[in-house]
Amino acid sequence: MKIKMGTDLFFGQPVRCSATIAPAKNKSVPIFVLALFCLALLPGFARAEGMISQTGFSGEREISLSFSQPLAPEVAGNPASYVVYEEADPDIRLAVSEVALAADQRSAVLTFAAPLNTLQPHVVALPALTPAGAEVETFRVSKPYLGYLLSILISALLINNFVFTKYLGLCVFFGTSKRKDTAKGMGFTFTLVIVVSAIMSWFFYQFILKPFHLNFLQIVIFIGLVSLTVQAVDTVLRKVNPALFRAFGVYLVLVIANCIIIAVPLILADNEYNFFETFMLSLGAGGGFLLALYLMSSVRERMELANIPPAFKGIPIAFIVAGQFALAFLGFSGLNLF
């Protein structure tokens, strides 16, 4: 990184940073992250209610149901009494070929003639058990939302790691991965800033840019929000926790030169993520960057002791090693956790 470290990017004031970086003793960051994480878990506990208490895919061709009370086998065991369709295609019924009713008549497994598209939510209804005249109750079958959220996190963290498989943020990555302490500092600072700025960007996008058709202002707004976040974190940290600021303040100026920080809001605007998904994506992006930095720095500390050909010393060899990391990270490709 060639941006002068030492001067504040925004208001030209010198940043008082010490050369040695003390490990951050403060626990407030992880607690904050944990709290947000718990908040994100909440929607995962929502369940269907009514006649059917729990639904879920149990295989490529199977849906499992739990009933809130025992059902008569002649109805619940009959494939014809179930109406199942994909939520997006309510007019096309899926053929249930077999029903396996449990002995206690409180759960059943439906087997289908054709494989299901488990990525789409499905709807199950039991019109045969609905009293005449009443509305037919429908029940949604979908992969757990919590799993979806976690898969966004894992995806950004490992499978589509921004550094090793999306090739973003490389300048800062190579600039700050020489020492483990620097790597940790940069990684944590970056994660904090990206989570805050991505959430702000999401609000801006959802409530200002989209309704007013100002999408072409994305770049300006997002980069502006990033600068603002960096400045805000800088100011708050300086006042609230000077020790933490001394540890991480140096890296704040570098955050803005990292393309991941602008890539994340662009991605979430493209994919129309909701708040929790935004949070997970930004956390994954930051965490993935931290992970990549930490791994790379520990390797580079070891490489400093090696007899590397002169032409390769420094950055070229770091690239070669990053390429090897990218090869190793191919192992995660196609990973589908939930």
Partner: protein, 205 residues
């Protein structure tokens, strides 16, 4: 303060001495990510050239009006504006090339190279000098990208600019995205090696 270099020297400086990819090691993301063909390199090079030249000129033009304390935000705003412009233009007129470059056009806004040039050069020099410096930097970036694209396209697909040159595909490896790391590393080392050979030859003379 004015630079003592001629316009030509400014351009050459950007291409050789301070090549943004191989010498300054800045803006590496596209160099790794999308340098798979010469065309890709050329297209993104054009985009960067445009943004660099227009931003440099803008800043040089308004250098007396920019308050020193909001220097950086002004730079960011300028760059973001020109990036938006090129982004919209590319999306409208060259949709296929734009699709290949993906998010990288928008990410020009975070390229350290442009901010750095504004801070170090355009904010102090005349509009003309800034223009030529911008051209040099943009061309330097473009040539770097095209050199990478040349190697990767030739070795990976056996083609140059889409024309079949070798008639077969030597090694799929080179057009795989992650191979960018290896290609950049090896080419940087190659240039380092050339430089050391050149220096040694110069000493001997």
């Amino acid at each position: 303060m004015a630079t003592d270099k001629s316009n030509f020297q400014l351009v050459v400086n950007g291409i050789l001495n301070e090549n943004p990819i191989f010498r300054l090691v800045l803006s590496m993301c596209p160099a790794v990510g999308i340098s798979t063909t010469v065309m890709n390199g050329f297209m993104l090079g054009i985009a960067v050239l445009f943004v660099q030249v227009f931003s440099s000129c803008t800043i040089a033009l308004f250098q007396n009006k920019i308050h020193p304390r909001i220097r950086i935000p002004t730079y960011t705003l300028t760059i973001a504006t020109w990036v938006t412009v090129i982004d919209l233009v590319l999306a409208a007129y060259l949709p296929e090339a734009y699709a290949k470059m993906g998010i990288f056009v928008k990410l020009i806004v975070a390229f350290a190279i442009i901010t750095m040039r504004l801070e170090m050069f355009a904010s102090k020099e005349s509009v003309t000098a800034s223009f030529w410096d911008g051209i040099g930097m943009g061309l330097g970036f473009m040539f770097g990208m095209m050199a990478l694209g040349f190697v990767r396209e030739l070795l990976g697909l056996g083609t140059i600019l889409g024309y079949d040159v070798l008639g077969f595909k030597p090694l799929l490896f080179f057009v795989l995205p992650f191979a960018g790391f290896f290609c950049v590393g090896l080419m940087m080392a190659f240039f380092n090696y050339l430089e050391s050979v050149y220096k040694r030859a110069k000493q001997r003379v």
